[in-house]
Symmetry: C2
Subunit: 255 residues, 2 copies
């Protein structure tokens, strides 16, 4: 199996499940750290800041610098800056999105925005959805941190950001620009920030339709692990296959 210099890990379903670490991944990452390989994290979760994600990982025995953690919120803020410069942005979202937008120099406003950014918001109100729809209809750019239509909780699948972005799309007839996996802006932003070369990078994830697809679209190698959404036996349903398919990272053989 190949040697990679920049390992990009999905989080939920790959490094942990909810609050439970996946031990094979944790010890694999610890080994990579000892060997001095680059370790990065790429998550569609827009609610947490990189700092809070780093704290969560630290509790599981994984050291990570917030700079090594790319969230869909941070990539959204970076995308806006690249395409439009600093903008007035109307936001539906939680702390992770607000911090990311403000850190990148954008101004969060309640009316007349140049862009409407939608991330998961567990304090959603009708007024927020109406204001966002009116702004999108009035011509503001419409960006969604990620397209996940649902996400798993202990109770079962609950609505994800893709369902809320979909609501605004239904109300306005305008489709959002999606930042998270399976789109590539997060991998792009990480590569730019750390000067990574595609040929040195590998994307590790449990979800074919987000993690593996993002890796394939970005043109890097991919490793599927059978610890979350997509079962190994279901990979055959998809066209392009991941470079490697493992039960867990415990099966990774160093040549």
């Amino acid at each position: 199996m190949r040697k990679y210099h920049a390992w990009c890990f999905d989080l939920d379903g790959t490094v942990y499940r909810g609050e439970e670490p996946i031990p094979e991944t944790v010890s694999f990452i610890q080994k990579l750290r000892e060997q001095g390989a680059g370790v990065f994290f790429v998550t569609n979760n827009s609610a947490l800041t990189p700092e809070s994600q780093a704290e969560k990982l630290a509790k599981m025995g994984i050291e990570a610098d917030p700079d090594e953690i790319m969230t869909s919120s941070v990539a959204t803020a970076a995308h806006l800056l690249k395409v439009h410069g600093s903008v007035k942005v109307m936001m539906i979202g939680e702390e992770g999105l607000r911090k990311a937008l403000e850190t990148a120099g954008h101004t969060v406003v309640r009316q007349h925005p140049q862009a409407v950014v939608v991330g998961i918001d567990r304090s959603i109100t009708y007024g927020k959805l109406a204001d966002a729809s009116l702004a999108v209809s009035a011509g503001a750019s419409f960006i969604a941190t990620n397209s996940d239509k649902a996400y798993p909780t202990e109770q079962g699948l609950v609505p994800g950001n893709g369902a809320f972005a979909g609501l605004i799309e239904l109300a306005t007839g305008v489709s959002p620009y999606y930042i998270g996996k399976p789109s590539v802006p997060m991998l792009e932003a990480l590569a730019e920030r750390h000067g990574l070369d595609r040929k040195d990078m590998v994307m590790v994830g449990d979800n074919y339709e987000t993690d593996i697809t993002a890796g394939i679209r970005f043109g890097i190698d991919t490793i599927h692990v059978d610890t979350g959404v997509t079962r190994t036996e279901d990979l055959a349903h998809y066209g392009e296959q991941p470079t490697y398919a493992l039960k867990t990272l415990g099966d990774w053989k160093v040549n």
Copy 2:
């Protein structure tokens, strides 16, 4: 022009626009009342009770018995009763929906419902949407009062019930059963309640895709008025045409 015994009027865009009565419709209805014709109202608005709609009409000079007003909420409650009997129902919606369900003998519950009913709810929360998604995924019947994706306000188009039902559909993969126009359950319930014969009925409305389509699907004559959503000149884009197309009901000629 034909003589009809049972006139079914859409409300918003046909009888009034928001709080503004449309004078030609108001005086036309007053004439119908004088002649002793049957006058009924058929609205996708699930938020108001028939009683509050009757009060709103009274202020505009139109007398109406709550029994003559069919709302998507009342038809939803009647549909549930017909198909499932009295059920435990989880509700997203406002006063009109709650009253309709309770009046029909259903019990509004917060967990383990047999049916999930979704109407417009301007006090929507993430918790309500999550609970509804979990119940639909667990197998509860999924019914939406109406499929309007947006509705007009003074500020512009804001999300309608179809967008919220669409959110739950995106999150769960389950499509709702829609009660309101362009579906026929409201006209069906009205005909049953008042013993109306299809050949005596006519549906009057401004919106081809809801009012006129519901009339056509129900197999009754239709009258399009150019006082709301669909412009007369745009009717040609559609297949089956309304029986009559008028600028306003002021143009209705009695033979």
